[in-house]
Amino acid sequence: AQRVTQPEKLLSVFKGAPVELKCNYSYSGSPELFWYVQYSRQRLQLLLRHISRESIKGFTADLNKGETSFHLKKPFAQEEDSAMYYCALGDQFYFGTGTSLTVIP
């Protein structure tokens, strides 16, 4: 079955600390993976996609096919990073349940 798992519903870190939001997937074939972010009272928006290997707002994510993971990382968390983060698989057919990140000042 094709599935995205985000094991943490809630994650709190202190400002300036590293942050890692976990995403594991199950997919037959070559996966397309994305991270979306939803700030308070805003629309869901694309953060980054694995195919472009970019860094957006200091966040990076590496596709690890051996571990079937696509974890989102940032070395130094900022208060403005507090938001809901969703991992998505395929042509965005499958979304995880999301992780709510809170950065404590």
Binding site: E32, F34, Q45, L46, D91, Q92, F93, Y94, F95
Partner: protein, 112 residues
């Protein structure tokens, strides 16, 4: 550009009724997808259309249908509404398959 626009923003329907939700994609975007999001869950895929043809369908009953028009706008129709259909319905568009999606702000449907 106004982004992806959805209408209406909120509506209340009675069980058994029918509802039509509308979506206008960003200009130049030919792919439109629909999602259902209930509280505490991620978006659940309902349909994807590209160039007016259905490209994908999620695990939803036949009461759910959609279509895409020549101007790439789209409608989602739900017949015989159930209480469990109460949710936020999101529309998203992209230029092509594999690109990231731009989401609308959604239609909040309440079935009573």
């Amino acid at each position: 550009d106004a982004g992806v626009t959805q209408s209406p923003t909120h509506l209340i329907k009675t069980r058994g009724q029918h509802v039509t939700l509308r979506c206008s994609p960003i200009s130049g975007h030919k792919s439109v997808s629909w999602y259902q999001q209930v509280l505490g869950q991620g978006p659940q895929f309902i349909f994807q259309y590209y160039e007016k043809e259905e490209r994908g369908r999620g695990n939803f009953p036949d009461r759910f249908s959609a279509r895409q028009f020549p101007n790439y706008s789209s409608e989602l129709n739900v017949n015989a509404l159930l209480l469990g259909d109460s949710a936020l319905y999101l529309c998203a568009s992209s230029r092509a398959s594999g690109d990231g999606y731009t989401f609308g702000s959604g239609t909040r449907l309440t079935v009573v």
